[in-house]
Structures are given as C-alpha cells and as structure tokens.
C-alpha cells in the first residue's frame, strides 16, 4: 500500500458517497453542497492524473461559478424543500433497474472487452507544471484556435439568450 493508492481509495469513497448524498438528500441546498464536494474530489483526481490546469479550472468554473449560480437560483426560488407530490409507483424501482443495467454494461465493456492493462505513470515522474501548461496553451491556441473562438461565441449567445429569456415585458405581470 503506498500513498497514491490510499489517496485514490479515499477519494473514490468520498466521490461516490457525495454523489449518493446528491441523490438522496431532500433539501436542495444540501444536494448542491454534496455536488461541490464531488467536484472537489474529481479535481484532486485530475491532479493525480497530471492535469493541473484542468483541476484548477474544475475548482473555479464548476465548484465556483456554476454551483454559485445553482445556489443563487435555489435561494431565489425558495425551493429548498419541494412538497412531495404523488409519485409514480414504478418509477423508483424501474430507474434503479435501468441504472444497474447501465453499470453492468459499463463494467462489462471495461473489464471484459477492452482488456485495459495499461498502468498510469506517477504524475511526479513526468509532470513539470510550467512545461505542461505551456504545451497546453500552445496546443489550445494553435491547433484548436477555431473551436476556442467558437466557444466565445457560444458563451455570448448563452448570455444574450438568458437576458432575453428572463426579461419582463413592459406591463407584464411578473
């Protein structure tokens, strides 16, 4: 047992447990906080995989911006607790069966068909942070320049769309 393995097991447990917490918590705010915890553990996975830029982007974009937006809307709507309506009786067992089938398929693909035996090298062995950031930036701004610019247009469209969607018409009853 070395440190990386212990860290991986702890992180995996926390990630799965926080995802389970997201699924079962009644209070929407708790669900959002569980999701923040999950994002943080996945960010540490990225660090283990030698992707420091993606890890930091994960923390700032997902755990920071997106989840703050979620919490803002939860507070705005006051929907911390939804009243329990009538539930379709077969919905929950059916969903669990479907999810089990999906997981079994994924496990079959991973461990039977692919036969992945490749071991990952240790991050500290090959990662020089400055150098990897430099390579990432060069790839992003040379090879993937057009998708990068298209992304900016996408964000602009989303921004304008949100403003148009939530704008109240003059004299309209809110």
């Amino acid at each position: 047992m070395n440190l990386t393995l212990i860290l991986f097991i702890i992180l995996a447990t926390v990630a799965v447990a926080s995802a389970a917490g997201l699924l079962i918590s009644r209070n929407t705010v708790y669900a959002a906080l569980f999701l923040v915890l999950n994002f943080a553990t996945v960010a540490v996975f990225y660090l283990l995989l030698g992707a420091p830029f993606i890890a930091l982007a994960q923390v700032t974009i997902y755990a920071g911006a997106i989840m703050v937006l979620f919490l803002f809307v939860i507070m705005l709507l006051g929907s911390e607790r939804l009243p329990r309506g009538q539930v379709l009786p077969w919905q929950r067992p059916m969903a669990i069966v479907l999810a089990a089938v999906l997981l079994a398929e994924a496990g079959f693909l991973l461990f039977r068909r692919l036969q992945l035996t490749a071991n990952l090298t240790n991050p500290e062995a090959s990662i020089n942070t400055t150098e990897s950031l430099r390579t990432l930036g060069m790839t992003l701004f040379n090879q993937y320049l057009l998708p990068f610019e298209v992304t900016s247009v996408l964000l602009l469209v989303a921004m304008v769309g949100v403003i148009v969607l939530t704008k109240k018409e003059k004299g309209e009853q809110g």
Binding site: I96, L120, T121, A158
Partner: protein, 103 residues
C-alpha cells in the same frame, strides 16, 4: 518503484459516477436536482477524458474537457433561466406540472 493506479480504476469511478447521475435524472423530480445530476454525468465523462489523455500521453483529452466545461457553463445558465421562467408562470417547479406546451 511506487505502485501506480491502473487506468481501468479511473474508468470504473467514472462509470459509477455517470450511472449515479443517470439514476438521479430518473428518480428525482426537482428540476434543480435533475440539472445537478446532469452536471455529475458531464463530470464523469470529463474524468474519463482526462484518464485516457493521461494513458495515451496526449493533450487533446484535456483540451476537450476544457470545451465541455465551457459548454456546460452555457447550458447551466440557459437552463436555470428556463427554470426561473417556469417558476414565474406556474409558481412551482415540479417537473410533473410541466405537461403543456402552451404557458
């Protein structure tokens, strides 16, 4: 020689997280939580991307994760705006109430 973690373990974690996200979409009826489950699924896919990028020693996977993050930010902004509009017109956001095309 330190022990290394096999690629398949990362992929297994990714598969488990993705399945839990799909389960959340299926069993929860609060659209905010359904949205969060979608984010969980995107995140699981990102983890698989980074693990494969690491395994094959290329940066393309990380760049794709960057684009997925941007698209999901745009998607969350628009989706939450839609939820706010639905709340304004129906005064509730239970997904079972969204059964008519005309507001």
């Amino acid at each position: 020689m330190a022990h290394t973690i096999p690629l398949s373990w990362y992929l297994a974690i990714s598969a488990i997280l993705f399945t839990m996200g799909a389960l959340g979409v299926l069993i929860r009826r609060n659209p905010l939580i359904i949205f969060m489950s979608v984010e969980l699924m995107l995140n699981a896919a990102n983890l698989a991307f980074v693990a494969f990028a690491r395994s094959f020693g290329v940066l393309t996977g990380q760049i794709f994760v960057f684009f997925v993050m941007t698209v999901s930010a745009a998607e969350v902004a628009v989706g939450l705006a839609l939820i706010i509009i639905i709340f304004r017109s129906k005064h509730s956001i239970d997904v079972d109430l969204m059964n008519s095309l005309k507001g």
